[in-house]
Amino acid sequence: MSVLAIINTQNGSATKSGLEAASYTAGLAAQLGTDAVGIVAGPLSSADAIGTTGITRTLHHEGAVQDSGQWAKLAAAAAEAAGATHVVCGHDHFGRAVAPRVAVRINAGLVAGVTHLPEGGTVRKNVFSGKAMADVAVTTDKAVYTVTPNAFGVATDGSTTALEAFSADLGAARETVTGFESASGDGQVPLPEAELVVSAGRGLKGPENWGIVEELATALGATTACSRPVSDIGWRPHHEHVGQTGITIRPNLYIAAGISGAIQHLAGVNQSKTIVVINTDPEAPFFKAADYGIVGDAFEVLPKLTAAAHALDS
């Protein structure tokens, strides 16, 4: 028996979601008293490319895997070989495409976007865009879980994992990636994975004013985000839009300047660990969801915060 982590890689090392899936797997295996096993595909850049999360054994498919259908075949074969009762994957773009296919292949109930280890026969996940949680029971013998980004964190127990060559019949690929367009090319951590986020809304009045938002983000090493109207009118790119119809995030710090705090916006950000709101209107609903607030003009407050952040490091 075992718990199997599907560990996605990019440029030869595990992605953050991959490491989170591996960490969750190690925790779950310890809880169940079984082995924690990983499955990884493609070339690896170094021995610790897949972290030291507590996974004892990792099956390694050396050839690259081209699409979600092939990944599902590989992971299902690995689950079979490892006698896995549970399969764990990150709830990122990769996991959303692969994990449901694996669940179908191995006839397992799937709980998408779990935030905690199982407890008392159920596992917790977010529902209603983060406005509530649900405890879900799997009703099949096997289970597949996808882990919400930034919910569980990455474990490091110092132990390395033994790599074992593994292959399976993957069939023909149907999806061919023909190109990649970088969203910003500015080297920011992608929003779903970011631990620090600086976000701004219509209160900034126009795209030409985003310099003060970007400067604070750079000073803190944070990623920038925005409210929906701001991306709808084209002040900021679509991929920065957070909220119910955009990206759901749960960073350690979310700073919102000139955003009113509409319920659909809050839905995407209210699970952030610490929320800071900067708004000229003391009645802005966002203050009710905030940990720290400044009633003031973003055009004056943001540069002050940037200066103070720089002062921290000197």
Binding site: D67, S68, G69, H93, R96, A97, P100, R101, A103, V104, A108, G109, L110, A112, G121, T122, R124, K125, N126, V127, F128, S129, K131, M133, A134, V136, A137, V138, T139, T146, R174, E175, T176, V177, T178, G179, F180, A183, P190, H238, H239, H241, Q244, G246, N252, I263, Q264, N270, T274, K288, D291, Y292, G293, I294, V295, D297, V301, K304, A308, L312
Partner: protein
């Protein structure tokens, strides 16, 4: 071209979220239902645009009870040709995917369009399950779709940007923002929707999980207000008190 759009119903985004029956059921009292935004704004509208450009049919499919009919009529008013409702109250995504696959199998749909996720369950898993059940290609979080003969060219969200992908048809995709612009049904659409076919079919399928209970997040403590003149104090608190920077 035969296009199938999977449409679910969801509580309006401003709904108050509450639970009844010992926190076992969603309290739908006074809740207004809408078409799940991703399904309506992106999947449905792109399917209609493709049909307008290249010819073909757009069918919508919904797994749910009769309470879904008004939202299905809205999709017909926006421009779908016909609709199917599988009369079942699903307990999880696996059951939904199996019911839709059971309907679609062998009917020759070229592209099956879903939304990227339902805003109530936030699973984002029905589409990929459907792809596996129908044994076809799949693209998650697609922001662009063009169909050329037996192939589709698609853009999808990926870490740090967008990927261009070519997929052999038939395929399933889940649609995200960027794929199309929301359309408001006009009077003619609303009138013609009344007479478009809405077939109700009975079917059953196994599920793989069940929600045991719901919980609401703990209330936030009071917000600590810092004087705007003294903004640097906030940075100190974030480091020393909240310990996040």
């Amino acid at each position: 071209m035969k296009l199938l759009v999977c449409m679910s119903q969801a509580p309006d985004t401003t709904s108050r979220i509450a639970f009844t029956n010992d926190d076992r059921e969603f309290d739908s009292n006074g809740v207004q239902y809408i078409v799940n935004p991703y399904d309506e704004w992106y999947a449905l509208v792109r399917a209609i645009e493709l049909k307008e450009q290249q010819g073909g049919t757009v069918t919508t499919i919904t797994v749910g009870g009769a309470q879904c009919d008004p939202t299905i009529r809205k999709a017909l008013a926006i421009g779908a040709d016909d609709a199917v409702r599988i009369d079942s109250e699903p307990t999880d995504a696996m059951q939904v995917a199996r019911l839709i696959a059971g309907y679609a199998n062998g009917k020759g749909f070229d592209v099956i369009l879903c939304g990227k996720e339902t805003i109530d369950h936030n699973g984002a898993v029905v589409p990929a399950m459907l792809a596996e059940l129908l044994d076809c290609g799949f693209v998650a979080n697609a922001t662009h779709l063009d169909v050329n003969g037996s192939e589709a060219s698609v853009k999808r969200e990926a870490a740090g940007g967008e990927e261009n992908v070519t997929v052999t048809l038939p395929m399933v995709l889940s649609a995200a923002k960027g794929m199309a612009e929301q359309r408001i049904p006009n009077m003619r659409g609303i009138m013609s929707a009344r007479t478009k076919p809405l077939a109700v079919e009975a079917a059953t399928a196994e599920s793989g999980s069940r929600i045991e209970r719901f919980a609401l997040p703990p209330e936030k403590g009071a917000c600590k207000i810092i004087d705007a003149e003294n903004a640097a104090e906030l940075i100190r608190l974030l480091r020393e008190e909240a310990k996040v920077i």
